[in-house]
């Protein structure tokens, strides 16, 4: 680890810079993209830990048939909250809000994002949305119990606190849109001289694709959620069949956003992996242009596959065939990326460090998640697997395995740049091993349970599902133990770790040329770019 550690640093980092405000106000009123990125990080990690606790409680309930630790109503509320918190507060903002904010300007050679005040507003809107959504917990009527999808007609009939949850999600959407606008303008207008589109590193490219989805898809769910509010308060009849409405319309509108939202989650994750792999392979990325084009193709085709969430809802046959075909189509650019990452690793001299372990395990779990998605995208198998534990396993392999592993990889990769210190790499590796074993033990049995017919979102089950459920619950404990090791190691590293060098991993993108941690304006002079971002050999 010695080559990662520096003797002394002399620069004034963005943390030490004296601004207008002091203490916590120097953070929550800061327009510095790096501080805002960290504000998101602390908020997202807090919400993630709440979501993990709720998930662990669900798994504990399922360790045995019948009531274990909670009643069915509490179980319904907990899986809803777990979903709302994890989706709207953790994985949708996730990588773009944290690492996008911190690294996008640095990676393109800019001093900040295009609209720093709007950036701060995005964080405030995010926090206000989070408070509104979570207030549903503490009001009379009890937490919502619809699942995170708020499906009609139940969502406008249940007596639980639907309005705060729905309005909270609506407000959170604005934060997403504002960040998207900021990133698009930043990438268009603030690239350093010489940084042509095809010299743009891959993480900013994925942020660009993501930002377009954020801008174009989020308003649709915003309007849809307002329609639920209208339905509950004024009985308008958009979705209520008794008033001439169509409940399937709700599903269309919800998934027109929420499927592209999966790409809001996964594209930046793919971007982070595309940064980690060439650095640790010490080799130029294989097929840079193919990865860029596949990023844009995923962002585009990803708009047209939402119907695969609705194969059993009663859509027309024409729609079923179209959505199934398009679902298979979107697998192609995703597979291209995987082949390119593997191609980059071919004959490379790989540095075996924690960020690489996370990236390599990302490839493994993402492949399982992706291929199980094809089983769900096929019309015939979908009828059998729809709304079973198989879907839960697939979803968690993609979103937790994909986005979560990439987030972990990203934080271990950029940690020395963000905090200017190094964590203990041996402990980080042990944490990763434990987390990985726990993760696969937790979610793999769910594939078999789903194929065997265990429905999702059920508080109880028949005896023959008992064995795999025990294994799955034990997996959740192992995974949480791994998570604790990782978090303690990172917190200790941030506070007391040895000082890191400017470029501990040998990365080639611009963030590795600035100080660790970066100065307030990142660059003393805007760099002139004369080479590709992955100029290894």
């Amino acid at each position: 680890m010695s080559n990662h550690i520096s003797e002394t640093t002399t620069h004034v980092s963005f943390r030490e810079e004296k601004g207008r405000y002091k203490g916590i106000f120097a953070w929550i009123f800061s327009t510095d993209h790096k501080r805002i990125g960290l504000l998101y990080l602390y908020a997202i990690v807090t919400f993630f830990l709440v979501g993990v606790s709720l998930g662990a409680a669900m798994k504990l309930e399922l360790i045995a048939p019948g009531k274990t630790i909670m009643n069915p109503e509490a179980y319904n509320a907990i899986f809803t909250l777990h979903g709302v918190i994890m989706i709207f507060l953790v994985v949708v903002p996730g990588l773009p809000a944290v690492f996008g904010n911190f690294f996008l300007p640095i990676m393109i050679g800019a001093k900040d994002v295009a609209f720093p005040k709007l950036n701060l507003l995005s964080w405030w809107v995010y926090m206000v949305g989070a408070v509104i959504a979570l207030s549903a917990l503490f009001m009379g009527g009890g937490p919502p119990d619809t699942g995170w999808t708020f499906y009609a007609p139940y969502s406008f009939k249940t007596n639980t606190n639907m309005l705060p949850a729905v309005i909270g999600a609506f407000v959170l959407g604005f934060s997403s849109i504002l960040t998207g606008i900021n990133f698009i303008v930043t990438i268009h207008r603030l690239r350093a001289p010489g940084m042509t589109w095809f010299r743009l590193p891959l993480f900013p490219w994925t942020l660009y694709g993501t930002a377009w989805i954020q801008i174009l898809a989020t308003p649709i769910v915003g309007i849809t959620l307002l329609m639920i509010v209208g339905e509950r308060l004024f009985h308008i009849g958009f979705f209520d069949p008794a008033l001439g409405g169509d409940p399937i319309l709700y599903q269309h509108l919800f998934w027109i956003y929420s499927h592209p939202a999966v790409y809001i989650m996964i594209l930046p994750a793919m971007g982070a992996i595309s940064e980690i792999i060439p650095t640790f392979a010490n080799k130029s990325i294989f097929g840079y242009k193919a990865i860029v084009i596949s990023t844009l193709a995923i962002a585009f085709v990803g708009y047209f596959v939402w119907g695969h969430h609705m194969f059993t809802s009663g859509m027309s046959g024409t729609a079923l065939y179209t959505f199934s075909f398009l679902t298979f189509l979107v697998a192609i650019p995703s597979a291209i990326k995987v082949f390119n990452w593997v191609g980059t690793l071919h004959k490379a001299s790989i540095q075996l460090e924690p960020p690489f372990f996370w990236a390599a395990s990302f490839l493994f779990v993402f492949m399982i998640g992706g291929l199980s998605g094809l089983a769900l995208g096929a019309l015939a198998t979908n009828v059998h697997l729809h709304d079973t534990a198989f879907v839960v396993a697939h979803f968690h392999f993609i979103v937790f395995g994909g986005v979560g592993f990439a987030f972990m990889g990203a934080i271990h990769y950029w940690f020395p740049k963000i905090w200017g210190r190094m964590y203990n790499t041996k402990v980080a590796t042990r944490g990763w091993i434990m987390f990985f074993i726990g993760f696969t033990t937790l979610y793999l049995p769910m594939f078999f349970l789903g194929i065997d017919g265990m429905p999702r979102r059920y508080y109880d089950y028949v005896d023959r599902f008992h064995g795999p459920n025990i294994i799955s619950t034990i997996g959740s404990w192992v995974m949480i133990a791994g998570l604790i090791i990782i978090l303690v190691n990172l917190i200790r590293g941030a506070k007391k770790g040895p000082k890191a060098t400017k470029n501990p991993w040998g990365g080639k993108t611009l963030e590795w040329e600035v100080d660790s941690p970066p100065t307030l304006e990142n660059f003393e002079e805007i760099p002139v770019i004369k080479r590709s971002p992955y100029d290894y050999r």
Binding site: R189, I256, Y303, G307, M315
Partner: protein
């Protein structure tokens, strides 16, 4: 990155004409609800709304004077939304 900050003054008359066209299109979109167009009802309403928003974008929001890239990006958004609607109606029209 081209610089498109040159001043451009739009004659007041042009704005007046566009306003009149928008009002007429609004009246048409109300009037067509009286005709039974079956499955084309929604299509007609959306088409008229698209033309109106296009006029607002081009004249009032000065897209006419923006560079080709911006024009292409805004057009791509229209095409995307049209495709999303087309795919949605593959369900409704064939149920």
């Amino acid at each position: 990155m081209e610089n498109h900050n040159e001043p451009h003054i739009v004659p007041f008359k042009t704005y007046g004409i566009i306003l009149a066209v928008l009002v007429v299109l609004t009246l048409i979109s109300v009037a067509v609800t009286q005709i039974d167009l079956a499955s084309l009802t929604v299509f007609t309403a959306i088409l008229l709304a698209t033309i109106k928003s296009g006029l607002v974008l081009v004249y009032f929001m000065h897209l006419k004077f923006d560079n080709k890239l911006l024009k292409a990006l805004v057009s791509a958004v229209f095409i995307l939304i049209a495709l999303v609607m087309f795919v949605t109606f593959l369900d409704y029209n064939y149920r």
